[in-house]
Symmetry: C2
Subunit: 236 residues, 2 copies
DNA sequence: TGATCTTTTGTACGATAGTACAAATCTCAT
DNA sequence: ATGAGATTTGTACTATCGTACAAAAGATCA
């Protein structure tokens, strides 16, 4: 037997630390940070409230650890897929592959950590909406590199589109991605059962196709106003 | 009895009820429902905590009233704009006008109630992310009609696209819309200051153009798999 | 003016929040 | 087996939560 696993992990035994992380992830992702108490998490994990304090010190620390667990693997996966996508010859296919490299890791397991990236992405969406400070800091310093790499890659595929437009459109992509994971049932409801919002594969295909088309839209003239203003007179 | 000065001319006198509503709207929209206490709201409105109970009975009641205040006017405005949009002759212009009819009221003041629809839309985004029950009920029964009318109108402009695809793409639109209002600073950051995420007019133009292009994307073959799978082998 | 209704204030209560901490329990190399 | 360190448990403390409620203050009209 090896020296000592000490504070690492023993996967062979029910690991309380992991159980707490998984429970917290699920609860935070569905109810938000503030609506979930440490006691809720402990109960869902079959643990004692004090155990959470022991492992993560504070509730913020718990959230921080969830991010730490997922950010690395997910960004790594995105980098790999992005690198592969950039090698695609055909321009149209390359753009699609780039978008896919961004979308797929968000939906599927980026690391098989506690059951998949979709839950973590949903968590990010919720934290972003709640304006959570802990999440905001981590996100900005962890995902901005990836986002820039993605934006640059798209821009290389579409050199005639201003970078500003690419930024906006990739922002829309992330919003659509988040919302698809937050309220999938709305898709089922509005399609009157014809579509399943929870079907990740379907969501990915729809999102990728729509996003590719959005990226390929003609550039916006920033100086000149829109070519016309058909109906709306927006005032405020 | 007829009381003239109370509810009608109240604009010149500090109306506590309105002040509480405005403060709650702002705080909920930026911090989420659970992170904001009744005392926070009262303090921001310059009122007494008991006053909130008096006017709205419960915290949920306060949220409910915020929705009641905005849903009607915003949906009315959307209906008007949608009706006008449907009268546009040119097909491409009509689609754009339809999208604009959906987007503009969400960004600008739908009723000039307490300073604009953007704040209320941001509130809806946050409540949606938090899975707030009160909001979920109201949203489903208040906005689904509008959403269906919008989807139908888009579908009429693009008859060759399956309704399912339209539903997905309009879902993405709402997600992008929400996210633009929730974290506008991300656009500024990622564009390195070249774009201002808080510029509503700019956001509207970008969103409308991107969405029109997304709607016009070729239909997804639902039976057949994607024409290829360039890079990704998603497994989980 | 005084009577009556509406609104605001101040305070308090029970529930629950996050977290600290000591005791109990478990793990494992020796 | 045993002792040391790691983990879990149970409990308690303080702060804050939503809300109730009585008293004070303000408004309205005979």
């Amino acid at each position: 037997m090896v020296r000592k696993p000490t504070s690492k992990e023993a996967a062979r035994k029910p690991n309380m630390r992991e159980a707490i992380l998984a429970a917290a992830e699920e609860l935070f992702a569905t109810n938000g940070f503030n609506a979930v108490s440490v006691r809720d998490i402990a109960q869902a994990a079959g643990a004692n409230p004090g155990s959470v304090t022991y492992h993560f010190k504070t509730k913020d620390g718990l959230l921080l650890e969830i991010y730490r667990r997922h950010c690395g693997p997910m960004n790594l996966r995105r980098s790999e897929l992005l690198a592969a996508a950039k090698r695609v010859r055909d321009l149209q296919d390359r753009l699609e592959a780039i978008v896919r490299a961004y979308v797929v890791p968000a939906f599927t397991s980026g690391s098989d950590l506690a059951g998949g990236g979709a839950r973590f992405t949903r968590l990010r969406a919720v934290m972003s909406a709640e304006g959570n400070e802990v999440a905001r800091k981590i996100i900005a310093q962890t995902f901005d590199d990836t986002s820039h790499a993605f934006i640059d890659a798209v821009h290389e595929s579409l050199p005639h589109i201003p970078r500003t437009d690419i930024v906006w459109r990739s922002h829309f992509l992330l919003g659509a991605l988040y919302y698809s994971l937050v309220t999938p049932e709305r898709v089922s409801r509005l399609s009157r059962g014809e579509a399943d919002g929870s079907d990740a594969a379907c969501a990915i295909e729809q999102l990728v196709q729509a996003t590719v088309a959005a990226f390929q839209a003609p550039a916006l003239d920033q100086a000149a106003p829109a070519r016309r203003r058909p109906v709306v007179g927006s005032k405020a």
